[in-house]
Each structure stands twice: as structure tokens, then as C-alpha cells.
């Protein structure tokens, strides 16, 4: 678990909680914006290491995420071959849908391409 303090006072948190099946899961908590997205991304990179090819990102406890947060997720997604988004809020779900990212950041348990 690692806290990341942003300059703007926004606080983000990333926590690794693997599934019983062994699939690595990282949970994002709090608010992610420009002030902390970069350091949070670096922490996330450390947590998952280089050997991870399948990653679930749990957004169930996320309060807020702006385009910097999306950019951070996209960078992780580009590094790991398969990323799935778990428990996105309706807002995040819609943002992913609106911005044409459903293929890049697929929501867990859904057919890819669905908007």
C-alpha cells in the first residue's frame, strides 16, 4: 500500500490485492488528478513489476479521476498486455465509453467494443 500526496492536497492511494486465482489486482482509492497522477503511476508500476501480463484495476473506491488519471491508466494498459477495469463508477464507465476507450480499458465481464 502506498500513499501519494499531491501538491493540490488531492490524495490518491494504490493498493495491491490479488485475486484468489492469482490474477494481480490493484485498487485505486481517493482522488486522482494532475497533482498526483504521475507519482501514483510510478507506484503502480512498482507494485505490478515487469512480469505482469494480466492486470485487474479496481476502481470501486475511487472518488474522482480526471484526464491525468485516464492517461495514467492508459500508460499501464500499454505496458501490460491485458488490463481489465473492475467496479467502475457510472461516471468512469461513461467517460471510458465517451472517449472511445472501451477497447483499451475494457470493463471486466463485458464484451469488448460494447459502449
Amino acid at each position: 500500500m502506498a500513499h501519494v500526496e499531491g501538491d493540490g492536497g488531492a490524495r490518491g492511494l494504490v493498493e495491491r490485492t490479488d485475486d484468489p486465482s492469482g490474477v494481480p489486482v490493484v485498487k485505486l482509492l481517493g482522488a486522482i488528478d494532475m497533482s498526483n497522477a504521475e507519482s501514483l503511476g510510478a507506484t503502480l508500476d512498482q507494485l505490478i513489476g515487469d512480469e505482469t501480463h494480466h492486470l485487474v484495476v479496481d476502481l470501486g473506491a475511487l472518488e474522482f479521476m480526471d484526464s491525468s488519471g485516464i492517461a495514467m491508466l492508459l500508460r499501464v494498459a500499454a505496458r501490460v498486455s491485458t488490463v481489465e477495469i473492475r467496479n467502475p463508477s457510472n461516471i468512469v464507465r461513461r467517460i471510458i465509453g465517451c472517449t472511445g476507450l472501451t477497447d483499451v480499458l475494457p470493463i471486466e465481464g463485458r464484451e469488448t467494443g460494447e459502449v
Binding site: S67, I70, A71, L74, I91, R94, V104, V115
Partner: protein, 522 residues
Amino acid sequence: MRRSVLSRAAIYVFAVAVAVTLTLSLMARALHDSNETRLLRQQVSAAAAVVSAAIPNIQTPLSSGAVLAEATNSDRSAFTKLMTPLAAGRPFVSASIWPAHARDPRPLVVVGSAPELAGRPQAERANFLAQTTGKKVVSVLDLLGRSPRRLGYAFAAGPTARFVVYAEAALPENRRAAVDSNSAFADLDYAMYLGSTANVDHLLAASAAKPQLTGRTAEDSVPFGDATLHLVMTPRRELGGDLLVRLPWLIGGVGTAIGLAAALMTERLVRRRAHAEELAQQNARLFSEQRSVAQTLQHSLLPEERPEFPGLDLAVRYVPGVDGVDIGGDWYDVIGVGDGKVIIVVGDVSGRGLRAATAMASLRYAIRAYVAQGDPPETVLLKLTKLINVVRDGHFATVLCGLVDVAEHSVLFANAGHPNPLLIDGANAEFVLTKVGPPVGVEAATSYAAVSVKVPASGTLLAYTDGLFERRGESPDVGLARLRGAAIGYDTLDQLLDGMLRALTPDGCDDDTAILAVKWRT
């Protein structure tokens, strides 16, 4: 900025501290004074009591002598037997029997040395002896002014007595008699006078060479036979101990030190605050400078305010975010391609700052280059994906690119993750459903599909970035519905854009915002 050696607040604090200290000091001093005076009065009363207690030592032997003289008709041998031990120095140097009412009285019997009284004038002797018969106490004769210094005492046994017994006591040499160092009055200097005032002619005894006592003194008078003894005392040192004497100075010293420390601390706080204010002013100036630099740079990266194309009305707005310190990554562009066709672009690079603005500028000019090569919107977007990469640059960009065919009243839209444009026609406003592909910079290998939209003659197309409708903690659907509702009821494009900005972002935009509106000229 005002600079002085000490701030007014520090001086004030010090002044208050000194005033408080002074008051406390004076109070301590007053307390000490009253305490000393009280102690001194107690001592004088005690000393006077001791002196009073000495009277019977004189009166008792004299009254015994007087009774004996009356009973024995002034028998010499009986009187001598009684008085010899008493007239050898202490308490008396001389004792004698005198007739009470003689015209020229002479001593009838003398024990010890010759009485001084015998050398007195006839009238003084006669008067002195006569007046003793009416008294129940010892009569005191003041022989102080003469030499040798003696004090005379006389007593007669009742008003009808025939004889007066008279004794004289010698006073100390130089009238000095030191107080025993272990006595209760060892801390005091005293002067004892015969009479009720401190008349130096009648000084009986004093402990100091200079009988006039100065400084803090206390006096008391006690009856001494038919006369009065006056006692004056002064403390040789502080009766209440040294602490009370030092207390005012102690309070003064400590109080001044505390006051000085408080003043210095105040001074430090004042200076620190002044420093903080200075910093805040500096920050505010830097902030406004950076803000104006950011805005200047941003506007220089965007095309001219009002692009002109035949057959089209165009209007654009760029509004920086509220904090406005960083350059944003939002942009719009209008590019003529000839042949009655125009490319309109609205885009948004994620993040802010110089890096986002640089990415925005490179995308904007790349689009101009691709358009100049004759690429259609979907190809333009595809080529852009090679320019920007979220893994490498940390940014991605959403871009809406439309090819406007003025004559055909149509627009061919390609969309890389951007909010759909709004088509406003009279009282209706509908989002144009484009084929939304991923933002540029996300995946290198992707493709975009263009969608052609027919625009009615009275229709207005509105393209914008998410700053116009997005609010924290709110679904984009809610914001888009609000935007759609705010787009109705304007005549000109300028009214439309200004009106929507006012309605949707009444407190200014959180994020920066770019808007582009296009309408066919009728």
C-alpha cells in the same frame, strides 16, 4: 515597507511589561514598608513595656525607706542598714532623708555619695521636696543638664509625711548604653528621653553616638514616676528579613527580563509576519505574471479570433481555466482546403502545462500539414496517433476533425475520443452521433471511421472541449444534457457562444475550454 529598529508592537509590549513590573515593585516596596513599620512599632511597644517594668525597682526601695523614716523618725542606723546595699552604685549612687516641709531643706541622713540635690538652689530644693508628699508615685528630678549627670528620685509616705526619701542614680557615661547583642532589641538603635518629646537636652541614654535617629523611626511614651519617658527606635537592619527588602528589586529585575523577552518575541513575530506578507505579495505578483504569460502563450498558439470563409459564419472562443496559471491543452482550428471546403478541428490534450501545450501545438500544425496533403479527417487522425504516445509523453489527446462541404451542406466527421458535436436547429439541439475511436496517443495501430452529417440551412454546428460541460463528481451525461439545454434560443453565433459560457460556467471554467461554432450563411 516600514523598517524600524523595533516594531511598535514590541515597544508597546515592553512598555506594558515595565509598567506592570514597576507597579508590582512599588507594591512590594509598600508592603515591605508597612511590614517594617508594623514590626518596629511592636518592638518599641515591647521596649517601652520593659522600661515601665523597671519603675518598681526604683519605687519599691524608696517607699520602704520612706515608711522606715516616718516610723523611726529618720533614724540614721536603720536607714543606713536598709539603703547601703542599694546606694553602692546600682540602682543608686546616693540615698538620703530630707525634711518634707523645710524652708531650706538639708539632708538629715545620707548613705553613699553626697546628693546633687544639696547643691541646688534653696527654692528648687524646697519646692521639689514639698510636692512629693502629695504623690503616690516617685517624683523624678531632672539633673541632666548638669554634670555629673544624675537623675533624682524622691518619695514620701503619704500626704502627711514629715520626711522625703531621696535617691540619685548615675546615668551612663556619654549617655551611651549599647543594647546586648542577644537581647530582643539587638536589631534596633534607641534613644530614651526624659519628658514626652525627643529633646536632646533631656536624653537619658542612646545606643548610638548620634542620638538623633533618622530614617524609619517609631516612638512611644511611658509614664515614669511623675514624669514621662520618651522612647525613639530605629531598625539597625531589616526587621522582616532580607527577602522583603530585595523583593522589589527582585520583581523589578525579573519583570524587566520577562518584558524584554516578550518584546523580543513580539518583535520576532511581527518580523515573521511582515516577511510572510512580503512573500504573499511576491507570490501574488509571480502568479499574475505567470498567468498572463500563460494566457499570452496560449492565445499565440491559437489561430486568429475570427476566421473567415465564404459562405460560412464562424465563431470561436478560448477560455482559460479559473486558476489560469498553467497553459492548457485545448485548441480549435479552422483550415481552408479550397474547392469550397473547410476543415474544422477541436481538440484537447490531457493534462496541462508547457508539455501539454507543446503537444497541442505539434498536433495542430501536424493537422494543417496533413490537411494540406489532402488527407480526409479519418486519415488525419490515424496519422496523429504516430505523433503522440501516452506511454512516452504522458499525454493523449481527443480530437474532433470535420471536413465541411459548404455547397453540399454537409460535414464529414472523424472522432478520436472527443465529445460529440451538437447540431442546433431552431428549438432543437441534438448530438451528432459520430463513430468515436480511441483518443490519439493511446494505441499506435487503430483506425477511425468518418461519419457524414447533413446540416440544415438554418442549422448550427457546435464543437467544444469537455471544460464546457464537465463537473467533478458528475456523469458526463448530466453535463451534456445541461449543455444541450443551454444551446437553444440565440440569434447570432457570438450570442450563442457568450450565452452558453455564461450559462454553463457562471463562475468561470474549472478547466480550460475551447468552443467552435459554424453556421451556413443565408
